[in-house]
């Protein structure tokens, strides 16, 4: 066949229609979108789809989590490390509502995810039928888009649109609710990928004048500073960012979700900004003359008090989402567009520069932070184990190549502060929503998406117990994740606030914990507990060397605090070291 014939045949193939059920159409749509793994939990209103999945099990691997929240977080972990769309599926009513926390988390952290929920028969809608909830209404504020399908014939178009919306522009979660009658009914199936939606511009066009204006400000700056966020990773702009930083010699800091886009060891990487970020970038935010924000949204955890945030600086904001411009911080120059493209254009306009004296200011403040905080965290002399030294051992054993999946709390801040990241997409954590219970299921998704990478989940004793049931999923699926629980027998971050701001009234933050090792072993997962410093290095070594999933509990100092700290609502330059 010549080329024309081949094209014609391909066209005919896609135009060909087949009479199949709505359920089969759902599976076929997923396959057409390249989905080979999905996370979920069956139930009455989604059973026809599960029945079809049984038929297609050689094409799509379904992971039965132990709770729908676990399915949502696993899909997030999958999406965050792979950059692909994570898929979660659940039944109607409680199945659907259990997904909501994961969906809200994905929304605020811009994670591409498609959730499919079953729904009662369409003639029962609105009748308070068994396991009926208005999941479209419930999920509206926390989805990028959602839709209810009541006719089988709508399935291909709606699912194509769902995947397009979830992954394009600023990514986000989409929920598609499908009534049982639509799953059962037949349709003439053909699938065409969605390539655009009227009224939706995923990537705004870059204004070259804005890029030039930004470059002019940066070229003239004496004390420029970059704060990058996850937009760099989502836009696959790591190389461009590095080139910009190096060409213009700009000290560059990152938000929690921006972590790992540039290696930790890069000489111009000056650390994390925000509430528990590094001393220098927080302090010097209020001294820089040009602040260049790239793919970040000026979250209040980053800015502290807006009235005193970088008031002396000209602010340049690169973002894909026009609604982020001037939302929290008024900008002088806004560059809309995809970070890869806009940073590429910026690079051409920038002069080569070094800011040695300015960088020296960061180094001096780092030395202060090292002396007062980091040294004690990483090489403590007191008896109790610190969270920091556990991270240090993990860095040593993984050589900074692991993907660190952290939960929420003190250990999360320690993990982000002290993990060495050599590779991008290595920091998977719940940033915006701060969801305890995130890490264990997210680590499952991450490891399944990137089986060649070492995935280490760092979890507190509180968050671990919020989704501890997913050990069952780990065992059943044989996912070789490494789980480290840093146990201080407290809800540590809340306890820290109680100590500092509530007169040490530890209201409901102390935890009496079970024997975690026995629980892990009950799920047939190899497990060890470390209580003494001299046991730590060997235990971490053994864990990383293991080819299987491995649980390591480290009993750490009960009342350690995370510093530096910008107290809530304070100025970033009022950052405390103790």
């Amino acid at each position: 066949m010549n080329n024309t014939e081949t094209t014609k045949k391909a066209q005919e193939e896609t135009q060909k229609t087949e009479r199949i059920s709505g359920s089969e159409a759902i599976i076929r749509c997923l396959i057409a979108e390249g989905v080979d793994i999905l996370y979920g939990y069956p139930g009455g209103a989604i059973m026809p789809v599960y029945d079809e999945l049984y038929k297609y099990k050689d094409r799509i691997h379904h992971v039965l989590t132990r709770h729908e929240q676990g399915a949502a977080h696993a899909a997030q972990g999958f999406a965050r490390i792979s950059g692909r769309v994570g898929v979660a599926m659940a039944t109607s009513g409680p199945g659907a509502t259990n997904l909501i926390t994961g969906i809200a988390d994905a929304q605020i952290d811009s994670t591409p995810m498609v959730c499919i929920t079953g729904q009662v028969f369409s003639h029962l809608l609105g009748s308070d039928a068994f396991q009926e909830t208005d999941i479209v209404g419930i999920s509206t504020p926390v989805t990028k888009w959602n839709h209810q399908v009541t006719k089988a014939s709508e399935i291909p178009e709606v699912l194509a649109k769902a995947f397009y919306i979830a992954k394009s522009g600023r990514p986000g979660p989409v929920l598609i609710d499908i009534t049982k009658d639509a799953q059962v009914a037949e349709l003439d199936f053909k699938y065409e990928k969605c390539t655009g939606v009227r009224s939706y511009i995923p990537i705004p066009k870059i204004n070259i004048d804005a890029v030039k204006a930004a470059a002019e400000l940066i070229n003239a700056a004496k004390k420029p500073m970059i704060v990058w966020g996850q937009g760099v990773i989502l836009g696959k702009a790591e190389e461009e960012l590095k080139a910009v930083i190096e060409k213009a010699g700009i000290p560059s800091a990152w938000t929690i979700l921006g972590a790992s886009a540039i290696p930790t060891s890069h000489p111009l990487n000056v650390g994390m900004v925000g509430m528990h970020g590094n001393y220098a970038p927080n302090k010097l935010t209020n001294e820089c003359d040009v602040l260049i924000a790239i793919g970040m949204r000026f979250d209040d955890r980053v800015t502290g008090d807006l009235k005193t945030y970088a008031k002396q600086a000209k602010v340049i904001h690169f973002d894909i989402d026009p609604a982020e411009i001037d939302k929290n911080v008024k900008t002088d120059v806004a560059v809309l567009g995809n970070s890869k493209e806009s940073l590429g254009l910026l690079l051409e306009e920038l002069n080569e520069n070094t800011h040695t004296e300015w960088l020296q200011e960061f180094k001096e403040l780092y030395a202060i932070e090292f002396e007062k905080v980091i040294k004690n965290d990483l090489s403590p002399t007191k008896e109790g184990l610190t969270m920091g030294e556990v991270l240090k051992q993990i860095n040593i054993e993984t050589k900074g190549n692991a993907a660190i999946v952290s939960d929420v709390g003190q250990h999360q801040m320690i993990a982000c502060r002290y993990s060495e990241f050599n590779k991008t997409k290595s920091n998977i954590t719940s940033g915006g929503l701060g969801t305890m219970g995130f890490a264990l299921p997210a680590a499952i998704g991450a490891k399944m998406a990137a089986p060649d990478r070492e995935v280490v989940a760092i979890i507190g004793d509180g968050g671990y117990q919020m989704n501890i049931q997913e050990l069952g999923t780990i065992f059943q699926q044989k996912v070789p994740v490494k789980i480290v629980v840093l146990n201080n027998e407290f809800l540590g971050m809340v306890r820290q606030w109680q100590q500092l701001f509530f007169d040490k009234r530890y209201a409901s933050t102390e935890m009496t914990n079970p024997d975690f090792v026995t629980i892990a072993k009950g799920y047939y997962i190899e497990a060890k507990k470390v209580t003494k410093r001299e046991e730590l290095a060997d235990a971490v070594k053994e864990m990383i060397a293991s080819k299987n999933s491995y649980f390591l509990e480290v009993c750490v100092e009960k009342e350690d605090n995370v510093f530096p700290m910008v107290p809530a609502g304070a100025s970033v330059s009022d950052i405390r070291l103790s």
Partner: protein, 177 residues
């Protein structure tokens, strides 16, 4: 910075899909903005709906929420305008006992002077309809209230802008993407 609270008319052009009202109202709700009135109808373009929403907020607030509206997948474009920039009107209906029409001749004068239209008259009641600005409708209501009103209803504001909104051009740009 424009921090003065003003009465602003927000026009949101959307796809004609279920659930958008929820998304739009949630944006107001999250920011604690009270909706003074809301009208939704088909717009001048087939298949495109238009929400007309009146709120009392600052222009700075308005600018920020326009971004939030436009971020919604099915919102085509959102605008806000001050009263000076728009031509606007509201509509209302009064249901009044028929006997009053004959017992209170003053009512007939009110109807005539205010340019109010009689929609229907039967043995029990008659219905008046008037379109106009809020103050005109309020004044009519005050005048009629003394005689007794069986039912009163007022619509949300409908509004067109003095300046062109170029929505049709935008749509053709979308279509040609």
């Amino acid at each position: 910075m424009n921090q003065e609270i003003k009465t602003l008319t927000i026009s949101i052009y959307t796809e004609n899909n279920i659930g958008l009202l929820n998304r739009i109202s949630a944006i107001f709700q999250r920011r604690h903005i009270n909706i003074e009135s809301l009208t939704t109808s088909q717009s001048e373009i087939e298949g495109v709906n238009r929400f007309v929403i009146v709120v009392n907020i600052t222009e700075d607030q308005a600018k920020k929420i326009m971004g939030q509206f436009e971020k919604q997948i099915e919102v085509i474009r959102a605008y806000y305008h001050t009263d000076e920039e728009t031509i606007y009107t509201e509509s209302c209906m009064f249901k009044i006992k028929s006997s009053l029409l004959f017992e209170e001749p003053q009512i007939q004068n009110i109807i005539k002077d205010s340019g109010t239209r009689i929609v229907t008259v039967n043995k029990e009641f008659f219905v008046l309809e008037k379109s106009g600005r809020r103050n005109e409708i309020e004044s009519l209501r005050r005048d009629l209230n003394v005689f007794g009103i069986m039912q009163f209803v007022r619509s949300g504001r409908i509004s067109v802008t003095k300046e062109e909104m170029k929505i049709t051009e935008m749509l053709s740009a979308f279509n040609n993407q």
